[in-house]
């Protein structure tokens, strides 16, 4: 198991002032480099001495990566924008309150002041076997210690496990997916824009990564289109400790309702698989239906079809079913500061 030593391994610290310089550094150092955004995920790895990069590229000095701009009735959020700034931004609150609610439920106020949106969506999984320093599949080995008959796997996946059963722990990721966001990535070959749906990747595609970022690429911004601006939103996160914890399951939904009929819907659940899980079958099923108890009940049942539980995480099935029901009903408390 990892022992926190509070003495990080030796590395070269680079603090580039532009995106181009950062990419040049990452391209030069390749897999020997680590990208540092808010540092809240990275510092754990460094202080536990589980990752020993030769170079750490701190993006904190790059001004272009910070701030929120209005763009074609939507928003472009710099990847290094702190979560607190997102929560307080008037347009986010006015048009995209789903993201505000999700960002506000991330960790604690101190962490939200330091943590960035780019870091939150790109963070590594919290599987403690993996973070404990054991050489599991995700760490380049040949076993998943969380998926054995005797594992402690209460927080692990109920969908899409492929050797590894780790889950994506982000709160903002499902909100962004529900808002139909796209991720702007820069690398040595230039810029590419990836739909949020394609940004996160499961272990079947690449068991050692959580997203499509190559070692020499950085997420520069997140674009939220106006598609779902002002829609009816719902975000709920269930966690062990209300004050500060990662989600056991969270749900984000964005719906356009006309009269009593659902016209448009995007539903996403996270912490049940290695990627945020968009419930396309549920979305299709509820379009044209009334937003009532009957539809919510049907949606909840559909949402959990195909779930495969581990020894200790069967509770996630009724939890997810009920969260989806609540998202359809729109009932339940929202917590704003």
């Amino acid at each position: 198991m990892a022992v926190i030593r509070d003495v990080m391994p030796v590395f070269e610290l680079y603090q580039p002032a532009s995106i181009d310089d950062a990419i040049k550094l990452l391209d030069k150092h390749g897999t020997d480099a680590m990208v540092l955004a808010g540092g809240l995920d990275s510092m754990d790895w460094l202080k536990d001495r589980l990752k020993k990069p030769k170079a750490v590229v701190d993006l904190g000095q790059i001004k272009e990566l910070k701030g929120i701009k209005e763009l074609n009735s939507g928003l472009e959020i710099g990847a290094m924008t702190p979560l607190t700034e997102i929560v307080r931004h008037p347009v986010v609150r006015d048009k995209f309150s789903l993201l505000m609610e999700a960002a506000e439920l991330v960790a604690s106020p101190q962490i939200r002041n330091q943590g960035t949106i780019g870091g939150n969506v790109s963070q590594d999984t919290r599987c403690w076997y993996y973070r404990g320093g054991w050489t599991c599949y995700r760490a380049g080995g040949n076993i998943c210690y969380a998926d054995t008959p005797t594992s402690v796997n209460r927080e692990h996946a109920i969908f899409d496990a492929d050797r590894c059963v780790a889950v994506n722990p982000s709160d903002t990721a499902p909100a962004l997916l529900a808002l139909d966001a796209s991720m702007v990535i820069r690398g040595p070959k230039g810029e590419r824009v990836v739909a949020a749906e394609d940004y996160w990747i499961g272990p079947g595609i690449d068991i050692t990564r959580m997203n499509v970022l190559a070692p020499n690429e950085i997420l520069t911004s997140i674009r939220i289109p106006s598609t779902m601006a002002g829609a009816q939103f719902y975000f709920e996160k269930v966690r062990d400790r209300q004050v500060w914890d990662f989600p056991l399951v969270n749900v984000a939904s964005a719906m356009v309702v006309s009269g009593d009929k659902i016209e448009k819907a995007r539903l996403v659940v996270n912490a049940v698989a290695a990627t945020p899980r968009r419930l396309k079958n549920v979305e299709t099923a509820i379009i044209g239906k009334a937003r009532n108890e009957e539809t919510a009940d049907m949606a909840g049942k559909m949402a959990v079809e195909g779930a495969q539980t581990l020894r200790h995480n069967a509770y996630k099935v009724p939890l997810m079913r009920n969260l989806v029901k609540r998202a359809i009903r729109g009932a339940g408390a929202t917590w704003t500061s």
Binding site: G133, W134, T135, G140, N142, T148, R163, G204
Partner: protein, 284 residues
């Protein structure tokens, strides 16, 4: 370059985890290098084959043989092509992700592995009880043939022994593929309970970490070895002077003239119906 990768077990022991995937690139490079080297050699070498006059004389002697000589029965051909398809799926699903082409490969890989293992089992039974088992193996008795073949490759007219049913290169290749194929298949079957197949209850702990490490290393070594072997096999299958052998694996037969030109009738006796005898003269 580290050829093997190590990891730390929960008990703090260093255990093997994989071969280094650099070996995949090495095997790919070796396969392509062999292809280029052999093709260049064949362009410029003075290799000899049986003269037409000698084949004519043999045709006169063996005129009772039918025009078509059966080389591979339907079951053997079906096995070969099913195994080939499974092998390609296995190699592409294993190594494309390493080469950077990312896709959910595990399900395709284990399913192709099951097909390969089943086809190998079938082949073992078929070859043992229904074919001439020893005709594909190499042994000390092949030394004179090896010597004659080498001399022919260097441009000498050598009257020594010609091939039995299978050319010497073919038999040497079969020996290599047996070791690599069985190594990959047996270790692959051992790995099935590690993943979610629905066929067996998952249990990744039925072997110790160190034993798993060896299993993965053998699987990896056999896999990267198969990359080079398959490149060589495909290369020979499409070479013009070997095409008659490849064609026989599709149609099942060779012509009487091909039989007499390339084979030693005493080592691969054929009856008047064009079928191979149960035992070869040199093995009976």
């Amino acid at each position: 370059m580290d050829l093997l990768r190590w990891g730390r077990s929960p008990w703090g022991e260093w255990v093997l985890t994989h071969v280094s995937w650099s070996l995949f690139w090495a095997s790919l490079f070796a396969g392509v290098l062999f292809f280029v080297a052999h093709a260049s050699y064949m362009l410029f070498s003075a290799h000899r084959k049986r003269p037409s006059s000698e084949t004519d004389a043999l045709e006169a002697q063996y005129k009772n043989l039918p025009e078509k000589i059966e080389r591979h029965g339907l079951a053997a051909r079906l096995f070969h092509w099913i195994m080939a398809a499974a092998m390609f799926v296995l190699l592409f699903t294993a190594f494309l992700p390493i080469a950077g082409v990312k896709f959910p490969w595990v399900q395709w890989h284990w399913m192709a592995g099951i097909v390969l293992a089943a086809s190998i089992l079938f082949h073992i039974v078929h070859a043992t009880f229904f074919l001439d088992f020893w005709s594909i193996w190499v042994g000390p008795r092949d030394i004179p043939e090896l010597k004659a073949e080498l001399l022919r490759e260097f441009g000498h007219d050598v009257p020594g022994p010609k091939d039995g049913k299978y050319p010497l290169g073919n038999r040497l290749y079969h020996t290599a593929i047996v070791f690599a194929g069985l190594g990959a298949s047996i270790t692959g079957i051992l790995m099935i309970p590690r993943i979610r197949t629905g066929l067996v209850t998952r249990n990744p702990y039925y072997l110790a970490d160190a034993t798993w490490g060896i299993t993965y290393v053998v699987h990896g070594l056999a896999g990267v070895g198969l990359v080079g072997l398959v490149i060589a096999h495909v290369y020979f299958a499409i070479r013009p002077e070997k095409w008659w052998i490849t064609k026989s694996m599709i149609l099942g037969y060779i012509t009487r003239r091909q039989y007499l030109e390339h084979h030693e009738p005493s080592r691969w006796p054929v009856d008047a119906k064009g079928s191979g005898a149960a035992k070869h003269a040199d093995q009976a």
